[in-house]
Subunit: 363 residues, 2 copies
């Protein structure tokens, strides 16, 4: 009896993937370490050249006084908000309803730090200056995420961002950047990381999104802020004896990929246009402003899954590993362009998208 | 002008080290990964064969229903105490005054979890059944550390441990094991890990002490307990996208070294006897009960440092990387036996200890 493959199985079996840098496997680690001298010593509880040099490098890139390496952004950002709340003597912060802290962290901010978030804007749009003007209560800190991942990676216009920053400074509101994908938006803004970060008091960046490291994050700001963050890092259990298995690959892949974000951005626009050319398919944003976008189908998950499985089996091109149900007749998924996309023959793409268009019409 | 080396510089320059498994450097990582298939996939946020298989293996070794891999013991243990405190509706736990949570974690337990510790026993001795009987207030949980690291790695007699466990069960006090060095004490107790763990409701073990992994910890207990710990792991920022750079070496080194703890223990006794044969030198415990002990000198740090530097320069044997001042005329340091010790020629040891004895007499 023939057993239908699941979408994830079909994805894993396919030889061509649109998104990402490749598999997250042991080989990635081996490759990252292959070029590194065996005699280099581990960091030790936050000290040592391996961690200190990378922190200095990142502080310079971000234009901040100092930077601290964290095992995760979850830890780094809760700590940033805790420090600012303590500084202001105010247990209230503001962020987007789909902020990572609100939907992906099991309420760590509330359960561990007893900080209450004020949710700004609607779920399906960006925070505007007007939203910030109309908070209506005192907040210690405003967190902005660039790009806003859960709505396809949308971005405010740069002038709006500058206006929000100026308003916060005027009002004594601390501004924190969730820059998990900061490097990914620099080509659209036409700014350096330091220029964008200058608008913020503190900044978090991820080292495994567009950069493609193994895991890890950087929290940057004033020396006073980062020193305090190290105390909280110890409290959270993040001041590990050795973080070098994350730091060294982060350094390798940062140097390899930070300069390729413009390429990924152009490729994302090209790929989004291919999706938008298909029946009952639309990307969000329509024209990407970074390496990422969401693909929305005006068909149920149960209708789209067999289409994507058939495409991967017939063309070897895997479009998605999983779909998210967004309604009875709609579903979506996220795409992040990385190193893989440029290696895909254009004829293969054409074949896959012609088939997608046809099968969606028939679905 | 001749510049005197510091003790740490002399230690690093010496070719023979008494303690540990060797350098914590990039080579250790490369070696751990050399024997592992490149195609093995990373864990993903706590899922995947890499993490699940190791957790199952550790649960079996510890004789518990389930086990969870954590990036650090700091995180694992705060979470264990939080879960038990919540379960009992009681924000009080008891532990030794030199417990890791009390002296090495920047008060994370208090600052993040608002749990108040009751300190049992004096700093320089173990917790006894009498101490537990006389707490005089309700506690949710008692934490016992085996061996008690900060006092040289001392251990209660097994019968005492059984009596404390029975008393806690009788009284409805949860018993948690800080087993950072659990495998290291099994040869002395003549028990399996599961036998010792059966006395406890929850257990933490470290994967980089005697085991010699890169970093990481296991928290084990009932399925209900470990499932709750995963929620807190996410809240703490410890549910990383990828923990495999720690898990795979932990598995490699666990299999390599868990069976060598008896050898390390015998070697620790041999080495302690060599120290105890020297002038103004005593080990704590006098006869080790694990792979570790502390060396105490009845001389000031300023007097002992040049002695140790001279020994390392003259014999290539480094006895200590640093000394802790314990009084105006006393200092000490910790020794943990690992793979290196058995490779040291006995004649070298004899030469180093004869010189130590002579120089301390002259100091």
């Amino acid at each position: 009896m023939y057993e239908q493959k699941t979408l994830l199985e079909a994805y894993n079996a396919a030889s061509i993937h649109l998104a990402g840098h490749g598999k997250r496997d042991v080989e990635v680690l081996k490759q990252a370490f292959a070029g590194i001298e065996g005699t280099i010593s581990s960091d030790m509880y936050g000290s040592g050249a391996v961690i200190e040099d990378f922190q200095t490098e990142m502080a310079e890139v971000l234009g901040k006084e100092a930077a601290v390496f964290f095992p995760s952004g979850t830890m780094a950002q809760q700590i940033a908000l805790r420090i600012w709340s303590d500084r202001k003597g105010l247990k209230t912060v503001a962020y987007h309803p789909l902020c990572h802290l609100e939907i992906h962290e099991q309420d760590g901010l509330k359960e561990l730090h007893h900080i209450r978030p004020v949710l700004l804007a609607d779920k399906d749009r960006l925070i505007t200056l007007d939203d910030v003007r109309n908070i209506g209560e005192d907040i210690a800190c405003l967190l902005l995420e660039l790009p806003q991942r859960e709505i396809g990676g949308q971005l405010p216009e740069y002038a709006e961002l500058e206006a929000i920053s100026a308003y916060c400074r005027e009002q004594g509101i601390i501004l924190h950047l969730d820059g998990a994908r900061l490097f990914e938006v620099l080509p659209y803004y036409g700014k350096t990381a330091a220029e964008v970060c200058a608008l913020f008091d503190s900044v978090y960046i991820s080292l495994y999104k567009g950069i493609g490291g193994i895991a890890g994050a950087i929290l940057a700001g004033s020396e006073e802020f980062t020193e305090e963050s190290k105390i909280w890092k110890r409290r959270h259990g993040g001041d590990l004896i050795s973080l070098y298995p994350y730091i060294l690959p982060a350094q390798v892949y940062f140097r390899q990929r930070a300069g390729k974000m413009g390429q990924y951005y152009e490729e994302a626009k090209e790929l989004a246009a291919l999706f938008n050319g298909c029946d009952r398919t639309a990307t969000l944003p329509e024209i990407p402003v970074s390496n990422m976008f969401h693909v929305h189908f005006a068909l149920s998950k149960a209708q789209v899954e067999p289409v994507l499985i058939r495409i991967s089996e017939q063309t070897s091109v895997a479009l998605a590993a999983r779909l998210k149900e967004t309604g009875p007749d709609s579903c979506s998924y996220e795409l992040n362009i990385g190193d893989l996309y440029s290696g895909i023959p254009k004829a293969k793409l054409k074949e896959a998208f012609e088939l997608l268009d046809r099968l969606l019409q028939e679905a």
